[in-house]
Symmetry: C2
Subunit: 426 residues, 2 copies
């Protein structure tokens, strides 16, 4: 199916960042801005919206037209959203208001870096522009540590967060070998267990932790959890558990909601920014095992998406590239919409998201593709069955093969090889 392609109108562009930041979300911003700066004949001014849609609504824009490359390169390696981010999902009315602001500023290109909610926002803004017969080219640039977007092999941001999680578990496994006990680490992920599954990437030896992995995709059963931990503890004299913050029981009720009051502005129980789930799981194990066993928990929290100085090179490069590709696609008039579904894209603007397609065979390689916004906007994905073992408490080799190239090289660790010294009678 050939995509429509029409040269873009001259005008200004706005780019914004949305949702939970990542360590490489600025790579996408910088990729887009540097590419845009190469097309000044068409892209007259390059504006950044402060705190995403809020910045558009409130006309809180900054001018990046002449932002220097040397400074942009510093921003690129800086974690978190340099423009500021936002958790707001605008109403249709607000999307219309946004469109009016964009039109007032002669904006013809709107780029929104974020997850599926951001894609939906972008889609609505695009529809409003279309209805007003205004040629606005709207592209979503994918980003999420949850790795839960549809129509893409994986999501920029995931690889770096996964690397942090893998290195954290590598260190924790070594720590736990030194001072034995049961250790529970809670990893981000409300509905998708990809990031928690990444805990397995740093296993250095057959007996390395995490020994048990619990994700939201598998119903969490406390009795099974205790039995699992007991079995590992009996075998290794220690046990490391990776648990998603979003683990839920067979009825789909989040474990965290069982002991926590209050919900956030989206009606969700608060999962991050609290150690409550880890402490609860500690109690479950302490109650279920003999007294005296050392049980501890850590909740990795915001470190996973913000820790300064650790990122995946592959992830950083891909995050840069999706930003660059979005600008090029918008300028070229590429669109995710096929001729069948949108005969009007030539006159009322194009839209899309950049997705990553992995080579089916041979070494890891990515091609970029423009997908319709509607693909990514509506739903999210979860860990497929083939990535989980039958018992639902570990990942498969297929997952490790999928995730390893996204994370890249992990630190090497070593172990002493010296043999036992024969006993002597004193």
């Amino acid at each position: 199916m050939a995509k429509k392609s029409t040269k873009g109108p001259a005008g200004n562009m706005v780019i914004g960042q949305s949702g939970g930041p990542t360590v490489v979300i600025n790579q996408s911003l910088v990729g887009a801005v540097l590419e845009a700066q190469r097309h000044r004949k068409t892209l007259k001014r390059i504006y950044g919206a402060r705190h995403g849609v809020e910045g558009v609504l409130e006309q809180d824009l900054i001018d990046l037209t002449k932002e220097r490359e040397s400074n942009l390169e510093k921003v690129a390696v800086t974690p978190s959203a340099a423009l500021g981010s936002v958790r707001k999902k605008p109403t249709e009315e607000e999307c219309r208001a946004m469109f009016e602001v964009l039109r007032a500023h002669d904006v013809r290109y709107f780029f929104y870096i974020g997850g599926n909610d951001s894609a939906e926002t972008a889609n609505i803004v695009h529809e409003v522009a279309k209805a007003g017969d205004y040629d606005l080219r709207v592209f979503h640039i994918p980003k999420t540590i949850d790795n839960d977007l549809i129509g893409t092999d994986h999501c920029p941001g995931f690889g770096s967060a996964a690397k942090f999680v893998a290195q954290a578990f590598m260190g924790d496994d070594l720590d736990n070998r030194s001072l034995k006990g049961i250790k529970i680490n809670v990893v981000m992920g409300r509905h998708a267990g990809f990031l928690t599954a990444a805990a397995a990437l740093g296993r250095a030896r057959p007996d390395s932790g995490p020994h048990l992995i619990y994700v939201p995709e598998v119903a969490f059963d406390e009795a099974k959890f205790v039995a699992d931990v007991k079995a590992v503890y009996a075998k290794h004299g220690r046990c490391i558990v990776a648990a998603s913050e979003g683990i839920a029981d067979a009825e789909g009720q989040a474990i965290a909601s069982k002991f926590q009051q209050g919900v956030d502005s989206h009606g969700n129980v608060q999962l991050s920014g609290t150690g409550a789930l880890g402490d609860y799981l500690t109690k479950v194990i302490k109650d279920g095992l003999e007294a005296g066993v050392r049980v501890r928990s850590d909740t990795y929290g915001y470190l996973q998406r913000s820790f300064c100085g650790v990122w995946s090179e592959v992830d950083a490069a891909e995050a840069r590239e999706v930003g660059r590709r979005a600008v090029r696609a918008a300028l070229a008039g590429e669109t995710g919409e096929t001729g069948e579904t949108s005969g009007t894209s030539g006159t009322s603007g194009t839209s899309g998201t950049i997705s990553l397609v992995r080579a089916k065979e041979g070494p890891y390689k990515i091609k970029y593709k423009v997908n319709p916004l509607s693909v990514v906007a509506k739903h999210t994905t979860r860990l497929p069955k083939k990535f989980l073992n039958e018992e639902g408490n570990d990942v498969t080799k297929a997952f490790l093969e999928y995730a390893a190239p996204l994370v890249g090289k992990l630190p090497k660790v070593g172990f002493l090889k010296g043999g036992a010294v024969a006993r002597k009678n004193g």
Copy 2:
């Protein structure tokens, strides 16, 4: 005061690791073993004790005499104790039993890597040997992320943990700029606030967090805490707090003990491996501020001492060096004891700890010195007054100058410079 110096007897050596592991504690092990391997005429066999004093007591020793340098170099960059660690503080009777094991294995050199408790253990073992007129050379090799040992400028292990904390706060500050709110991060440190103070090392801008720092050295007052946070929030629209796990009220009662049941095997309330203090401080702020303000906490937990792949180069080199120096001092018969206090060291073995002395002027430079075990064994130190501001909620420039060279280079971050775009009427 000239130190006594006598050549050591031929025999075997044992080395062990103790207490909370660090990211560079294996550097000390490797420094000692590699140095020992160069003196095989005197040091016949090089034994490692598994899990410190437990390994000595139970004769759980491994032979490192021919451990290859290439493997040792892999171990050196591996976090946590490669020999295993232990929290045990042996009784006098157990120290006598340890001595019998050492004598049975013809051990003439005993090295113990750890904090002040480990120094005390080493001291007792040394005294037992002396009483038995057995030439046992006993050296303590300093290690602690708490940085609380006496008689040394700083402690190996601290710089790397401080680097992790600094990078964590750098990232968290950026995250908090993106999505504003109040964020409380709990840092390790039961009695000493050095590691929490290190949160300030990564401040990139005048408005960078942490905006408030609470350490165990300053009485923690909840009302003052709320007022402090309110003031910062009013000024910046956000606030990042660094709080030691060991913060205590004016009576010296740990805040964590106010809501937590149970104590550990040392009679201490459990501080690490739980998010309870962070959650409690979150509640204090939520109750004290207007509704709707986003308040979150993270507890950095064991990541601070074990995270794989982040260490301070200076710290790693110094940790290596104290291990090497301890072996050389033991072989040379250097002793921390002066002629006045120990006339018998020549015949009944020498003992000491390696301390770090910083050049008083000019660029950062360290000399190594042998100190008596008794100096380091009995007490610990805390953040001196000169490192804390008058209000007791921040560090001084003097602290930053003290700590920066120990941590070394931190990641560089960048900020967008673009100016505001003028508003338009839609």
